[in-house]
């Protein structure tokens, strides 16, 4: 152990500010990068899920419209008959 007390350790022989600035900046940058990289995974999955939902909805709507059109045509034919 190179230090006698905790305040000695913080002081770093007078260089405390520079040493802790370096270690703090490195820790901050790396933690932020790590957290955002991890969180993006869930975000991307949610985005893809949302896109899939939208596509499914569009497909369903298309099928529904087709059915309605056919129904409408049938009714028109019945009336004209």
């Amino acid at each position: 152990m190179q230090f006698n007390s905790f305040s000695d350790f913080i002081n770093m022989g007078g260089y405390g500010f520079y040493v802790w600035l370096s270690f703090g900046a490195a820790a901050l940058i790396l933690t932020l990068l790590l957290i955002t990289s991890k969180a993006d995974h869930q975000k991307i999955i949610m985005q893809i899920a949302k896109r899939k939902q939208r596509e499914d909805k569009l497909r369903q709507a298309k099928v529904l419209r087709k059915q309605q059109n056919e129904q409408h045509k049938k009714e028109l034919n019945e009336v004209t008959d």
Binding site: Q2, G13, V19, S22, I29, L30, H41, I44, I45, I48
Partner: protein, 248 residues
Amino acid sequence: MWKWLHPYANPEVSYHFTNKLLPWLSALSAVFLCIGLVWALLFAPADYQQGHSFRIFYIHVPAASLSMGIYVSMAIAAFSSLVWQLKLADASAAAMAPVGAAFTAIALITGAAWGKPMWGTWWIWDARLTSELILLFLYLGVIALHNAFEDKNLAGKAAGILTLVGVINIPIIKYSVEWWNTLHQGSTVSKLGKPSMSLDMLWPFIFCFIGFALLVGVIICLRFRNEILARNSIRPWVRELVQQSAIK
């Protein structure tokens, strides 16, 4: 070798391999970093000239050499993507760029915080510092190009060409302290010759270096699997995977 490498050109195989690799890399990195940093901060002897300020070395040097190492691997990935059109190589290059930029920034910030008490200035336009700053701009340019195009193949091509042109900067950084007169000191940890450093200072450095290198691996893996998912979002296996995690 091609036979062995071939399955990893499949994004699905690579995705699952990366997922399996991640916990091991994370655990190893945490162990090495804990040992290395505690040793570096508490037990390594102070430098006879620089006193305790020398402890910045344990972050500054790994960050600086990793910033160059990541660039070289990114250039290799960019080259394979341009020549052999490996789509996964593009994804890995895109995953590496932000990590490299972060380590370059750390090298510059810790360098400034070390320069102020030792040289009397935060910044000086000398060869080593300027070329490292250019490395940061190269990384930022590559990131910007990757995000500039909707078409990821086109983006990868543009970013890849910038990456390959920028490789010229790497030997300039490496040899800047020998080619020009500079305030920056020469290398103390050379791998080939005998390191000009006492062993009780060198050991914590080795732990810190391996720990940071593994951390680079962890973050690149995290970003790589994001890139794979985003680039393959219409594939059936991704759809299935998304559905499974949506149920959870």
